[in-house]
Amino acid sequence: MKIIVCIKQVPDTKGGVKFNPDGTLDRGAMLTIMNPDDKAGLEAALRIKDATGAEVTVITMGLPKAADVLQEAIAMGADKGVLVTDRVLGGADTWATSTTLAGALRKLDYDLIITGRQAIDGDTAQVGPQIAEHLGLPVISYAQEIKVDGDSVVVKRVYDDGYHMVKAKMPCLITALSELNEPRYMTPGGIFDAVNAEITTFGRADLVDVDDSDLGLKGSPTKIARASDKVRKGAGEKIVAESPEDGVNYIVGKLLDKHVI
């Protein structure tokens, strides 16, 4: 069985968010991590590997530096890494990204594709289902459990009000929730191997059945009209309660003023 996991390198919010003067994210100034939903997807794939000996390939699209996230995945236990990078791919929206990844995936063998539900930088949750659509695969989004059952997968698909247990024949695509599992750490030995592991690089020429007009910025139907860091509501009043009664009287007074009570 061959599993391909799509992963993305994203800025880490834990170290704080940095902005450029024009309000866009200063990605260069922030540390990067493997996107959490993707990491859960990778862990799901590695558990299938542990149980069945499946081969796990990780693929990412990005700048050459994104190879870091592939090495991390290999240090966790993935077998192979594929980096899709080319100048013409820059500025892609979810359509162009999914078109690109679909083009790369057509060049690879797979029974199962796993993506994270959404990336913490874009928060779109669109690339997974769009890849499936481009490849003509069944998609099961929001997976909280994944089991392989012969030539099918059985997935716990979460909804706002419960879940469905869904069965799909492979090949298919699953989008993983970070609640799916607790991803494993790398191992020190895995790191030493990963830095020497060969990463396959795909450029524009390697993408199968993809038109130039569907790539990068010019292949992106959505365009940014405006971007900025969020203007927040200003702070209101604040008192330091010298005693609990102080605080209580203050709040009750405000609630009365506003006719809440």
Binding site: Q71, A75, Y185, M186, P188, G189, I191, F192, V195
Partner: protein, 390 residues
């Protein structure tokens, strides 16, 4: 000299940092207060190969090196000195001598289980009457010619991983030899397994720091161990012990470095938040200068520790070098920096620093032992001065 770290070390540091933050830090205060050995953490470290970092892959280890191992102890110790020393004592004092001096059979029998963390290791040299002075050893091993077994009698004290370990390296007197006309004790090293009849545990030490570390007395009463459990040549036990401690000192130096760094990081955050006289105490020049001095010393300690680790890596790779002096310097300096930095960090915390809720209180207690075990600072000075005067 190259001061930059390869990417693999950066990745390994990130791994150890993440693990320490997520798995070790949340327990640090609790296990200290309860004096409870963190078995759950040891199991997790075993799962991720942290107990066999410098061990070759053929023996079930991670196939990394001493520098990576030192970084692991450092990062763990930043949040919990106890967890750091568990890894250090296991790796440097038990696994390393078996890998270095063991027969192929001994290696095959013990190392894979130790490197995978299925078993934990410890090392017994110190006795009530003999610390770093090996000639004061009283524990005896006598060969029973009839059965071919060694019979051990005596006791070892202050043994890290004491009751929790499964495999112990034990140093014992196996006879008397004459050297330059003087009668000297002949010392040998043995591998002793937990559960061997006649091997029991004495008092659990109630310590000032590294409280969650299992520190016990080992007692041997007509304890019979197989002949093949002699480690290295008979009579080479002292040199095995000394060589083992050279490596151990790198681990303890890394522990001390980690404790100092942990205290400094915590304190930097604290002084930014803590307000006195209407401004954060980070704005006072006294605070700033103290932090500057501490950061400089910590950085110097790091360079010494990493250099000693790299020197041992060169040695392991086959270079004819000794890392004994580097290890002694690293341990001496890092331990004294740890004590100084944690003491100052407690001071910068004021009253809060003296309260157990704040990490620096524990860190200051944990730091002290690094100046004592695996050769006191005085012994390190002896090692260093003997080398420079030679």
């Amino acid at each position: 000299m190259d001061f930059t770290l390869d990417k693999k070390y950066e990745m390994a540091q990130n791994l150890f940092k993440d693990f320490a933050q997520n798995e070790v830090k949340p327990l640090a205060q609790e296990i200290d207060e309860e004096h409870r050995f963190p078995r759950e953490t040891v199991d997790k470290m075993a799962k991720y190969g942290f107990l066999g970092i410098p061990v070759p892959k053929e023996l079930g280890g991670q196939g990394c090196d001493i520098l990576t191992y030192a970084m692991c102890v450092e990062e763990l110790s930043k949040v919990c000195g106890t967890t750091g020393v568990i890894v250090s004592a296991h790796t440097s004092l038990c696994v390393d001598p078996i890998v270095t001096y063991g027969t192929p059979e001994q290696k095959a029998k013990y190392v894979p289980d130790l490197a995978s963390g299925k078993k934990l290791g410890a090392f017994g040299l110190t006795e009530p009457g003999a610390g770093t002075d090996a000639q004061g050893q009283q524990t005896k091993a006598v060969l029973d010619e009839a059965t071919g077994e060694w019979i051990l009698n005596g006791s070892k004290c202050f043994i890290t991983n004491g009751k929790e370990a499964d495999v112990y390296i034990v140093i014992a007197v196996t006879g008397v030899v004459e050297k330059r006309g003087r009668k000297m004790k002949e010392i040998s090293a043995f591998i002793v397994e937990k559960g061997t009849p006649g091997f029991s545990f004495g008092t659990k030490e109630n310590k000032m720091g590294i409280c969650a570390s299992s520190t016990y007395e080992l007692i041997f009463t007509d304890c019979r161990i197989p002949k093949e459990n002699l480690l290295g040549q008979k009579g080479k036990g002292f040199s095995i012990a000394m060589h083992t401690l050279d490596g151990g000192r790198i681990g303890i130096a890394a522990q001390a470095l980690g404790i100092a760094e942990g205290a400094l990081e915590t304190t930097i955050n604290y002084v930014k938040e803590r307000k006195q006289f209407g401004r954060s105490i980070a704005q006072f020049q006294n605070t700033q200068f103290q932090l500057a001095d501490m950061a400089t010393k910590v950085e110097a300690a790091r360079l010494l520790v990493y250099k000693a680790a790299r020197k041992k890596d060169e040695y392991q790779a086959g270079a004819k070098v000794s890392y004994s002096v580097e290890a002694a310097m690293a341990k001496l300096y890092a331990a004294e920096v740890a004590m100084e930095v944690t003491t100052k960090c407690v001071q910068l915390h004021g009253g809060y620093g003296y309260i157990k809720e704040y990490d620096v209180e524990r860190m200051m207690r944990d730091a002290k032992i690094t100046e004592i075990y695996e050769g006191t600072s005085e012994v390190q000075r002896m090692v260093i001065s003997a080398n420079i005067l030679n």
